[in-house]
Symmetry: C3
Subunit: 158 residues, 3 copies
């Protein structure tokens, strides 16, 4: 069966990475009712950080935007592995975003918007999500960005 | 039709501000099932920060409390614009609060409580909410406070 | 009636503490639909902080792990007081964790995993939860750890 959402992702030039393993005794995804919760994902590639450091110091805005995109792709990869098809996603509900940064850094929205923009490109009218963004002191493994997504599903819960 | 909740807000001496526009490719509110999620709101007034800086440095506790109240009023303004009436809110479920502060600042609850107290005054027995509060390094646009609310609705989802 | 989940907790050598009172005008728990939200809990014992300070400075990883366990036990104590039995918990859905730390500290998962591991020991196949973890500047009352849990319930909502 076709996965039109995944096709759109591919047409945009993106691929789903191998979803990173959890860093402890929790799960990558949990389905509860019609909602899919996904654990915080960072810019990890092939099991290793693709980028480390703080926005406003080692990490430029453009690098931070790439990190947010990779974090989102990891998130969608987790959802895909659980659901079997991104078409089962009815709506992106919520994005909680964490940016590790210097005290003087205040352009968090610009960094995280690369993820929100990709959601709009891939999910179109199903992309609408609320967002929280805060600048934290640091993140696990010195990652610069962490994203946690909540999705509403089309299908009935198991 | 009367909006008794909004009337109570007015009786308390408060007005709903013009709800701020999102800072990127996301939505101010998303309705999912019987829950309304609202994007993080800060002390923004007429499209501009009403206050910037860190608690424990430039921002006093009393100024932080005003900032939290304004953030809450912006949040309720977003809900009102979406729902058409605050009476459609059955219960305030969850308040996630972010306080940008100096390392030595530890009175976050006192700052955020101005928002919780206003919820109690306006929603009475419908105000009961759980709360998370943390002290972050900074917030978008150097805002001192950010609030994200989840509401349970009376009406059926669309 | 037996509470098999609580019995397992006791068999593991743990007791539920007296659940701490909220620090303001909010509630310890809110039930919405089939979900139970619990306010952020820290390592508080008998109304006082059991531990204060930052990971990477005053607080060692092992002390942080004890703080995370105590925070989780306080969380479960809140749930127990509301539900009357931990058996009513169908699944742990979500754990949002905040670690107050030095800028150079990056072992947050190791600290928070003591809570996730205890969830697995107590709830077994019902323990599966998604997790967010971030390193914040500080937490209310200078607590080193804060945990916020969302649970799915077996019983129908009131």
């Amino acid at each position: 069966m076709r996965d039109k959402t995944l096709e759109r992702l591919h047409q945009l030039g993106w691929q789903l990475p191998t979803p990173p393993a959890p860093l402890g005794a929790y799960r990558a995804v949990v389905e509860a009712g019609s909602m899919l919760h996904i654990s915080m994902q960072g810019p990890v590639s092939a099991g290793k950080p693709a980028l480390t450091g703080l926005l406003g110091r080692e990490v430029s805005i453009e690098a931070g935007r790439e990190a947010a995109r990779l974090s989102l792709l990891n998130t969608l990869a987790q959802a895909f592995r659980h659901l079997g098809s991104l078409d089962h996603i009815r709506q992106v509900v919520r994005l909680d975003a964490y940016v590790a940064c210097e005290e003087s850094f205040i352009n968090h929205p610009q960094v995280i918007d690369s993820a929100s923009e990709l959601l709009v490109q891939v999910f179109a009218e199903r992309a609408g999500h609320v967002r929280t963004v805060c600048g934290v002191r640091n993140l696990p493994g010195n990652l610069p960005v962490g994203l946690a997504l909540v999705l509403k599903l089309q299908r009935q819960p198991a």
